[in-house]
């Protein structure tokens, strides 16, 4: 036998102990596999169930709102034959142009003429009471549009009184429903443009949301102008400059807490500080905006800090290493990369502020205001507050107005969130 230099494998009894291969087809294995599949199926069904429930809630809400609200965008009109030839009015066309026209037509007794025409045409059904208080304004606008109407008989579809309107939509009092039945084909439907251009009114048929919408927009302008710069600058300072110590830890905790404070508390704060101490005008978009800015600022700070923190340190290093100053690092590199996140957070914060009601109630933006605010210090109300006020009204005509206003608010909120999602998907860099 020749000896080999290759060492022999050591032989021991321990090593040749029989190795039984795993039986992947055993009964226990198969049961384990079956159990795994069931667990997975169960989990998937649970998840699907959760999604279905939330989607159903949302769908229910939307369907109810749209079903009730769409009628707010529709008005019932009554066809009225009119003959204005004996209106005492100088028929020179110049009188019907420019700012004097409204006065001239009102002075000539147009309102009375319209009422008289209604009384004549529909005496049995209720006459002038069938028409909305503002119906004659439509006649006025039609005449301004076409002055020849003054010299020819014509017919015009005019908005009806709230009670008739509600009845025509199938929800009125028995008396009003009888009137509707008698009027029959003289009634028609049309888009209620006045809803978008009018302000609040005690008459549901004339109440519009433009006053509240404008109040909301003015309020949002103030909120954005204050909360955005202050929020973003604080976030930059805290992330990029502030030393890590007890003081900044405390500030961080405070900001997080502030974001969780119930909104009505901000209302109280606004009441005490802006109205009580600073004596700013009550019910004004300025004060509403300041109050909502207090509430929105922490949201913007937190979103901005997260966005800034998500910018990888390697980019900062790269900029520093070619000799960028700290401000250049922030403005040339960090902010552009964090911008989508900052804007998304800001829009979501603003959307929350837009839907906020309680703090605005506290600072008096709940008054009945029949004219849209002209400026930041005028008395105003806001869209969600208007919804709240209308929902409190006894008159039936306000039910649909309330739903219609909610739909308008929802459209704004969905649009804002849509923009936020678009920004996030389109511009956010992933690392």
């Amino acid at each position: 036998m020749t000896e080999t230099l290759v060492p022999q494998a050591p032989v021991s009894t321990a090593e040749i102990a029989p190795h039984r291969p795993t039986d992947w087809r055993s009964h226990a294995m198969e049961r384990r596999i079956r159990r795994r599949y069931t667990a997975e199926r169960r989990f998937r069904l649970l998840g699907l169930g959760a999604v279905v429930v939330s989607a159903a809630c949302l769908a229910f809400l939307l369907i109810v709102m749209i079903a009730q609200g769409y009628q707010g965008f529709v008005e019932t009109r009554l066809t009225l034959p009119l003959d204005l030839r004996d209106l005492r009015l100088e028929r020179s066309p110049e009188r019907l142009k420019g700012p004097g026209a409204d006065l001239a037509l009102a002075g000539a007794g147009l309102e009375r003429a319209v009422d008289a025409a209604a009384n004549r045409a529909y005496e049995a059904e209720g006459g002038a009471a069938l028409l909305s208080d503002g119906a004659w304004l439509r006649v006025r606008d039609a005449i301004k549009h076409d002055p020849r109407l003054l010299t020819h008989p014509f017919t015009l579809a005019l908005p009806v009184a709230s009670a008739i309107d509600v009845a025509a939509k199938g929800n009125g009092t028995p008396a009003a429903e009888r009137s509707v039945a008698k009027l029959g084909a003289h009634l028609s439907c049309g888009a209620a443009w006045d809803f978008f251009t009018g302000a609040d009114s005690t008459d549901a048929a004339r109440a519009g949301i433009w006053g509240a919408l404008k109040g909301s927009l003015l309020t949002m302008v103030v909120t954005l102008a204050l909360a955005f710069p202050v929020g973003v600058l604080s976030a930059i300072y805290l992330e990029e400059y502030a030393p890590r110590n007890r003081a900044t830890d405390f500030i961080e905790v405070s900001i997080n807490n502030l974001a969780a404070v119930p909104s009505i508390v901000f209302g109280l704060l606004g009441l005490a500080v802006f109205l009580g101490t600073l004596h700013l005008p009550r019910s004004a978009p300025l004060v509403g905006g300041l109050t909502l800015a207090l509430m929105t600022m922490p949201v913007i700070v937190i979103a901005s800090r997260n966005a800034i923190r998500a910018v990888p340190p390697s980019i900062r290093d790269a900029a520093l290493a070619v000799g960028a100053s700290p401000i250049q690092v922030v403005s040339h590199h960090v902010l552009p990369l964090a911008a989508p996140g900052i804007l998304t957070g800001t829009i979501i914060g603003m959307a929350r502020a837009l839907g906020e009601t309680a703090p605005l109630l506290m600072i008096g933006m709940r008054a009945f205001i029949a004219a849209p605010p002209a400026g930041f210090t005028d008395s105003a109300t806001a869209l969600p507050v208007q919804i709240f006020l209308w929902s409190d009204q006894v008159s039936r005509g306000f039910v649909e107005k309330t739903s219609a206003a909610i739909l308008v608010l929802l459209v704004f909120l969905v649009a804002m969130n849509g923009v936020a999602i678009f920004l996030r998907n389109r511009f956010e860099t992933r690392w």
Partner: protein, 255 residues
């Protein structure tokens, strides 16, 4: 070794992160004509020491540097030293390629722009072209300068980062394991590049790859546990180390 005065001198440098004493009493001279390599096992403080040469450690709140580091005889930790200018004079290339998420052109043009090195667009174009050429990247990217720098391959990105560092015309370039994230072909290109750049800039390169240190450097410093064990001509260190620990490390007994 040369007779010229050293470009940078570090004497008795200590760096600590809070209570972690990462660098102890390190003294090194860096010469303009040479490529200096820092080698040593992971965690021995090579990056820490490198970052103290352009004060990148200032960005770490816990880091404390003591000792004396001079660039052309000027104390870089002195109060009157402007750290922003210092970092333009002592450029840096990082372990992971980190181009800005901007165009290739913007990546290179950024430094000259913020330091006002170009009076006109034409001059800026020339700086960009020259830097990319020196970084050996010009021919590959000249037709797509407006493409994002992040769309390049890893090796190209690293050369773009080198071009970005060169563009501000630094005196020293610090490279922290510039090839550790690259494949062998890209690594070879960077090594060639370092060879070409030698003499124009003082180059300090950290590497955990001993062959690389032997190939690209003229002087080598061996670090161990935060201390400088041996520093000398690369040929001496690799053929005839004076310290037992250096020899053990180079022959692969640990690391």
């Amino acid at each position: 070794m040369s007779n010229n005065p050293p470009k940078m001198t570090a004497s008795h440098v200590d760096v600590s992160y809070g209570t972690n004493h990462a660098i102890r009493d390190v003294s090194i001279d860096v010469y303009r004509e040479d490529v200096t390599a820092f080698i040593g096992p992971s965690g021995c403080g090579k990056s820490t020491f490198l970052r103290s040469l352009n004060r990148m450690n200032d960005t770490i709140p816990t880091a404390r540097v003591s000792g004396d580091i001079r660039l052309d005889g000027e104390d870089i930790y002195a109060r009157e030293m402007d750290v922003v200018q210092l970092r333009a004079r002592v450029g840096m290339v990082f372990q992971k390629p980190n181009p800005f998420p901007k165009s290739i052109y913007e990546n290179v043009a950024y430094g000259p722009k913020i330091h006002g090195l170009a009076q006109s667009k034409g001059e800026l174009d020339r700086i960009v072209e020259r830097s990319l050429t020196r970084a050996g990247l010009w021919n590959e990217v000249k037709d797509r300068l407006s493409d994002p720098g992040t769309a390049l391959s890893g090796g190209q990105q690293q050369r773009l980062c080198i071009a970005r560092a060169i563009a501000v015309d630094p005196e020293v370039i610090l490279m922290d394991e510039p090839c550790s994230a690259l494949d062998p072909v890209a690594t070879a290109r960077i090594e060639e590049l370092i060879h070409d750049l030698r003499g124009r800039y003082a180059i300090v390169i950290v590497t955990h790859n001993m062959q690389q240190a032997a190939r690209v450097s003229q002087r080598t410093a061996f670090f161990h546990l935060g201390q400088l064990i041996e520093y000398g001509d690369t040929s001496d260190i690799f053929t005839n180390p004076r310290q037992e620990r250096t020899k053990d490390y180079i022959t692969g007994r640990y690391g």
